[in-house]
């Protein structure tokens, strides 16, 4: 799709321009009509943010999703069904996201089935609307944690790991590194977070675990919009000398400021652990050598040594149809995240087609069934080339989260190295109890009668 590195053919452009005038009238009726109607087509509306402060994440994640769909189309589609999509730029602004949602809902005669805004505020704003329109709303590694309760939020899916599971798994890993959870007693942990809904989301987990495990929690909020003002917080960290600093921010600005500030006050980067939105190449490169030794969690680790990544590079980029402008970003953390998300959709479509008819175009209700019956076992992940890139996971009517596990990576100054070969699990029982309690409260306040799930 991107033309960087592939000089455009001027004659093709000129021809296209003359054709444009004639085609304009036809296109007004509906763009999809132009393409061949011989094959069945499954349409997905794709909101993305390629400009704005979070463009680094957006170009990677949405590029990865598109590359997976292109790859699927180039290898026979979903049982012969071709995937088609429309992109809409949200700039991470909630109002633009809502506009995109409605614009993408229908395209010609096609109707959207999945909406993945990659933004917590948009998920909040759209959750009622998407359920009414029968569109599956996704919040992969973001959003409200209690949405994992599928009985209260039937149309909202996490797919991998939510913030509460992430927070719990982070504490588990810190405990394991200390040599056992009982060693956390007396330790000091700083939660350095962006002061908004996203940054406060894990607080219930950290607070609940503090008395149980005996660590002291120090909460240090960083002001919006980008979390660049951290002077006072790092003075405090220097004074407190905590054993760990958990960095809970978004965007390269916040992470690089934290890392360079840590270097300035002499706080070891080896005792800093970032949330997965602070664990991409783009998040640490601006900090330069100050980032060396910094740990970050990952729900989808970076790297090219995965089957699906090699396949996409060979098939899609080999044919010059890749979405990334810079091929060096193949295998980057954000792009891999998009590949995982896209691959999960493809599997969901296959599962739903197996149930509702192979080669069929699916509607939202059927795709939702596919999500609730998604079962990615170890063996299946190997078949799909996703082994190691995502944990084995299973969704159900009641559980919309899936895995609830993380990996931890360390930045060596040039690349992320995975330090946990196995996935680090969270305290599933505790997180699930919190999820159910919070979801039940939401249901009560909003007069929702939770579904009854078959057990």
């Amino acid at each position: 799709m991107s033309d960087i590195g592939h000089p455009r053919n001027p004659t093709r452009r000129a021809a296209a321009r003359t054709m444009a005038v004639g085609a304009a009238a036809a296109a007004l009726v509906g763009a999809p009509m132009l393409s061949a109607q011989a094959r069945a087509q499954q349409y997905i509306g794709l909101p993305s943010y390629r400009v704005g402060p979070f463009a680094a994440a957006g170009t990677g994640v949405f590029g990865g999703i598109i590359d997976v769909m292109t790859y699927t189309n180039m290898t026979g589609g979903i049982n012969g069904v071709e995937l088609i999509w429309q992109e809409c730029e949200t700039e991470y602004i909630p109002a633009r996201g809502i506009e995109c949602y409605h614009r993408l809902l229908t395209w010609g005669a096609h109707r959207n089935i999945i909406f993945n805004p990659g933004s917590t505020p948009m998920v909040y704003a759209l959750k009622a609307r998407a359920a009414a329109d029968r569109v599956v709303l996704l919040q992969v590694g973001l959003g409200r944690s209690d949405a994992a309760d599928g009985r209260v939020f039937p149309w909202l899916f996490d797919l991998l790991t939510n913030y509460w599971s992430g927070a719990s798994a982070m504490i588990n890993w810190i405990g394991a590194r200390a040599g056992g959870m009982e060693r956390l007693r007396g330790k000091k942990i700083v939660h350095l977070y962006l002061d908004n809904a996203f940054g406060r989301e894990p607080l219930p987990v950290f607070r609940a675990l503090a008395p149980r495990l005996g660590y002291t929690l120090i909460e240090l909020p960083v002001a919006l919009p980008a979390g660049l003002e951290q002077g006072a917080q790092w003075t405090r960290i220097r004074a407190e000398r905590p054993d760990w600093v958990i960095l809970w921010g978004f965007g390269p600005g916040m992470s690089s400021t934290a890392l360079t500030s840590a270097a300035r006050v002499g706080y070891p980067r080896e005792q800093m652990l970032g949330i997965w939105w602070q664990g991409a190449e783009e998040d640490v490169v601006p900090a330069g050598p100050a980032a060396r030794g910094y740990y970050a969690t990952a729900i989808t680790p970076g790297g090219r040594d995965f089957g699906i990544v090699r396949e996409i590079e060979r098939v899609v980029y080999g044919a010059g149809r890749g979405n990334l402008g810079d091929r060096a970003r193949i295998g980057s953390v954000y792009w891999n995240h998009g590949v995982v998300v896209g691959s999960a959709w493809m599997e969901v479509l296959r599962i739903a087609q197996a149930r509702f008819g192979r080669g069929q175009v699916l509607d939202g209700e059927q795709v939702r069934w596919g999500f609730e019956n998604l079962n990615l076992t170890e063996a299946r992940l190997r078949e799909l080339g996703l082994h190691g890139l995502m944990p084995p996971m299973r969704l159900s009517c009641a559980d919309h989260e899936g895995a609830g596990v993380i990996k931890v990576m360390q930045w060596d100054g040039a690349r992320w190295n995975i330090v946990t070969p196995e996935w680090v699990s969270s305290d599933r029982a505790m997180v699930r109890a919190m999820v159910e309690e919070s979801a039940a409260r939401f249901a009560r306040e909003n007069n929702i009668t939770p579904r009854v799930c078959p057990t």
Binding site: L126, R144, R200, N446
Partner: protein, 358 residues
């Protein structure tokens, strides 16, 4: 030729005081209203209603609030998004905490709450002016968002600090579909626009404009400064508060305080500047320009990409849209510094002479 004053006689004071003295204007307005009330809800797609018309009407209302304080009274305020936040969260809390609270009453109370907050933050206007006042209203913007974020009571202790709007029920009727929401918003915004227009051309509006043009002179001719300025702040905040409540309930459905960031405040200020200071029509035109132009640019470029079949780099294209939007703003401010409303005025004057201009 068609558009002229000939034959429009004003035989009574009531006729003389009409907003639209020309019969043709009145007919056009009635046709427009009939279109908006009858045709649009039945024909328009959910996208047009939810993504274009509803936010446009709501932001026009907020721009009217901004126009009252900045355009009519001449007080530079950069806190309108903060006041919208007060309205949204006040409405949420009235609905939440009072059993059986009717929606319209909650909106009204939210507006009044915002008016009270607006008066409190308007007090510095009695002492400071111009850019200095802008700075104090900026404080309002940050303080309000900070308070809503950090005092759990406002969001009913939601773990993520987000409020989810309750259903809008008026006399047992659920305003649920896009068309119903649109009609509700249209009714409220239409009513308040009429009220604003009448305030602007009555004694209240004249007192505001007198203060704007020269406050010492206004005081000398008998306008009480304290009362006039605070009334302007109260009414302006009331409009912003109602807009905020509608923004949360009829448009977004769930908001966190950061939705009402300084960026939204600036957008509303630009709506007023581009639409036309001290005009009600300008609030609608400016809101349309700021809200709709980026959307249409995005659609236009998507259309061009689809038709030519040439796949441009999406990131580059999106950046170019922003660039073009900026260029349009500069163009309109240079061509007509008095705003889009002034362009409409000039068009009407030209139309009166058409086809034989002299």
């Amino acid at each position: 030729m068609f558009y002229r004053e000939t034959g429009n006689f004003r035989a009574s004071y009531a006729q003389d005081a009409r907003i639209f003295p020309l019969a043709l204007d009145r007919t056009a307005l009635l046709v427009l209203l009939a279109l908006a009330v009858i045709v649009v809800p039945s024909v328009a797609s959910p996208w047009l209603l939810m993504a274009i018309l509803i936010p446009w009407l709501i932001l026009s209302l907020a721009a009217m609030g901004q126009n009252i304080i900045t355009g009519y009274t001449g007080q530079l305020s950069i806190g309108s998004a903060g006041f919208m936040a007060v309205g949204a969260f006040a409405c949420f809390n009235f609905m939440l905490r009072i059993e059986g609270m009717p929606f319209l009453l909650a909106v009204l109370l939210a507006g009044l709450t915002t008016a009270a907050v607006g008066v409190a933050f308007g007090l510095p206007s009695l002492r400071v002016r111009g850019l200095y006042l802008a700075v104090t209203t900026l404080a309002a913007q940050f303080f309000i968002v900070w308070a809503l974020e950090n005092v759990g009571w406002f969001t009913n202790y939601d773990p993520a600090g987000v409020m989810t709007a309750q259903p809008m029920i008026i006399l047992g009727y659920h305003f649920d579909t896009p068309a119903e929401k649109y009609l509700l918003v249209l009714a409220i915004v239409g009513g308040l626009a009429l009220a604003a227009k009448n305030m602007a051309r009555s004694n209240i509006g004249r007192s505001w404009m007198a203060v704007r043009d020269m406050d010492v002179a206004a005081e000398v001719v008998g306008f009480r400064l304290v009362r006039t300025k605070l009334l302007a702040f109260a009414i302006s905040s009331f409009y912003c508060g109602v807009a905020g409540a509608l923004f949360a309930f009829a448009y977004l459905g769930a908001v966190e305080p950061t939705t009402f960031s300084i960026l939204l405040s600036f957008q509303i200020l630009f709506m007023v500047i581009i639409g036309g200071l001290a005009t009600i029509l300008g609030s609608f035109l400016g809101a349309g320009f700021i809200l709709l132009l980026p959307i249409f640019l995005a659609i236009f470029f998507g259309f061009v990409t689809g038709v030519t079949g040439v796949a441009y780099d999406r990131a580059l294209l999106s950046a170019f849209e922003v660039l073009l939007f900026g260029a349009f703003i500069i163009f309109f401010v240079i061509v007509e510094p008095h705003g889009l409303a002034r362009l409409w005025q000039v068009t009407k004057e030209r139309l009166r002479l058409w086809p034989f201009p002299h």
